[in-house]
Structures are given as structure tokens and as C-alpha cells.
Symmetry: C3
Subunit: 136 residues, 3 copies
């Protein structure tokens, strides 16, 4: 069995941002030498998510607007004592916080529109995303 672990670093300019990280994940997969296996892409922080969806600017704004409608960032939360990011913790859960990606013949085994995104919900400070590839 082979494995490789990398930590991608992010510091977004805005508090809420959707960053396409497909290229970075593909690079780790290639460097791992794994031909058949799985790649876990997991934010190491609890106010962020990693998802697979479409590279389309309108959709990213739709996510943010829908999440704000369901769980308003400025709402009242018990967590927000000396904090103001309770909504970010909950958004991460609603969006599905991590992904496991298939690796086939040494590449991400994706459909035509699948892209990987780092979803920052409380940014403007350094965060990490772990990419771990295992297989043979």
C-alpha cells in the first residue's frame, strides 16, 4: 500500500469564499504514485468545508445566499459569546464538510463537471486542508 499526505494552506481575502482546489488535489494524487485508491480532502478547521460541485460563479453566490437565508450569520446563537462564527460552524455541516475522491489509473475519477472546492466560512486567517491519498 502507498500513501501520501499534504497540507494545503489558505488565507482568503474575504470571510466567505469558495476556492477551486482541483489542480492542487490532482497534484497530490499524481505525486502519491497511487494508481487505484481513495483521496480524502478534509479541512482541518471547523468553520470550513470541502465540497465537489460546479465551477460557476453564480452558483457560488447562490450557496452563500441560501445559507444566509437558512442560518443567518448575524443571528442569535449561544456559541456567539466572545465569538461571532456560530453560523460558519453550522454552514459547514449543511454543505457536507469533507469529500473522499476516487483515484483510478492514477487520476481523479471524475465526471465532466466535478470540481473540488474549499469553502471558507470564517476566513481572513490561515487555515489548512489535508489531502491524504491511499491505495496501490
Amino acid at each position: 500500500m502507498k500513501s501520501k499526505t499534504e497540507y494545503l494552506k489558505f488565507r482568503t481575502a474575504k470571510r466567505i469564499e469558495f476556492v477551486n482546489i482541483t489542480r492542487e488535489v490532482e497534484k497530490v494524487v499524481r505525486e502519491s504514485g497511487v494508481k487505484e485508491g481513495l483521496a480524502l480532502v478534509n479541512p482541518m478547521h471547523i468553520t470550513a468545508a470541502v465540497i465537489v460541485n460546479d465551477e460557476e460563479g453564480g452558483l457560488k453566490r447562490d450557496y452563500a445566499r441560501v445559507l444566509e437565508g437558512l442560518v443567518p450569520y448575524g443571528g442569535e446563537y449561544e456559541h456567539n459569546v466572545g465569538e461571532d462564527n456560530a453560523a460558519a460552524h453550522i454552514w459547514r455541516q449543511l454543505m457536507g464538510h469533507q469529500v473522499v475522491l476516487p483515484v483510478t489509473k492514477g487520476e481523479l475519477d471524475f465526471g465532466p463537471w466535478e470540481q473540488v472546492f474549499y469553502c471558507e466560512f470564517d476566513g481572513q486567517r490561515e487555515k489548512r486542508v489535508l489531502v491524504k491519498v491511499i491505495g496501490e
Copy 2:
């Protein structure tokens, strides 16, 4: 390490549909020869989800009604320029878009009610679901 990858094909009659695929996934697990490992079940399209829940018709209608209440299909979305499926992209995230299933002694290691479903949110055209089993 052993691995096996299969692509299940779907073309649902309705735009929104919940299809039980437990048998199909079990078949891939058996054919893989993996006794101890993991099975990733991942839609290769970004307006669909794979979930584990209960085989019960009322619950499936409840999912659709709840999702429509939270993120109306016919609502206003920036993504819907020449498209009308923004809600399907978002429903997929709310439902949790993929699953990783445990394989123990050559079988899906499930509790009494766990069943696997392909959740189509923008159907009536061909879609694929990847099943990848790795282990020993």
C-alpha cells in the same frame, strides 16, 4: 491490496427520484473479492446525491417536500441563466452528496435499516454513479 471500480448508469423517469441501489452496490462488493475495506459510492454528476437511509416511501416524499421548502426549485438563483437546476446543485449538498461504506467479511457492514439510495435531483438524462471498493 485489492480494488474494483464499477460505474452504475441511471436515467430516471422523473426529474426528482430516490432509487434504492443497495443490491447493485452489494454486487460490486462481492465481485471485488475484498473482505475488509471501504466502498466509496459517488455520483459523477453534481445535481445528484448518494445517501444511506430508510427504504420507506413516505420518507422519500418527505425529503422532497422538505428540500423544496428550504430551497425552492423554482426560486431565483444566479446560476439559473440558461439553466434551471440551481436548487438541484444545492439539494445535493444538503443531503450529503456521497457515502463511504464499510466492508467486513466480504459484505456491506450495515445496521438493520441501512439502505443505499441514488438521489436524482435533475433527471430524465443519463447519469453515472461510481462504486469503488478497496481493501484486502
Copy 3:
């Protein structure tokens, strides 16, 4: 390849409860002998979830209040014929029902605040959570 499977048992005092299981998962990882790999933590029941988030009491109450606001437990559901737990089935999906955890150098490869929680949404009866570690 090495693997180890354990079944954690729960019977919560309350119907809705968030139980920190990080220690129990770490124990299985250590006992597995896996140095580099993945750990799947998966509830074997369909009215529960496993998530990674913050150990903070206010946030747990926020989850419950937000979920109740989005999908009221006492609402009307087709599933609730002889049952009353449709909302629990749906909450599990919204929260993301399972997690896959990275194992590096024999330990959970976590950021500073990541903790694992069993989220019971229909408790007061025995439930199980599967922990499966694979790797080398």
C-alpha cells in the same frame, strides 16, 4: 494492509444528544496498529449522525435549535405513520451522516479544534457506531 473494526454502543438519556467520541475513536486507531490510513466512523442507524466539529456546549444547543427551525420534529411528515421520527431521519442528512478521518503516524491527523461527535436524534434505545480503520 491492516484493518480493524469496532462497534461503539450508545444509549442516550435524552432523545437528542451530542456525545464527544474522540477518545473512543482514538483508541480504535491505536489498537489497529495502522500508521498511515483512513478511519471511517459511521452510525449503523438512520436517525443518527457522526460529525467533526467543536467541543462547545452552546454550539450543540445551536445545532438543535437550528435543525428544529428548519425541519420541526413535531411537523407533519408522511413517514410519521406509527412513527414520529421523520425529522431525525432528515436531520441526519443535513448534518452529514458520517465522517472519514485521516490517520497519520498512528494518530488522528486533526487540526487544533477538530473533535468527533455522535449525534443522536432519536435516542433512549441502543444504537451502534462502526469504526473501521484501514491502512498500513
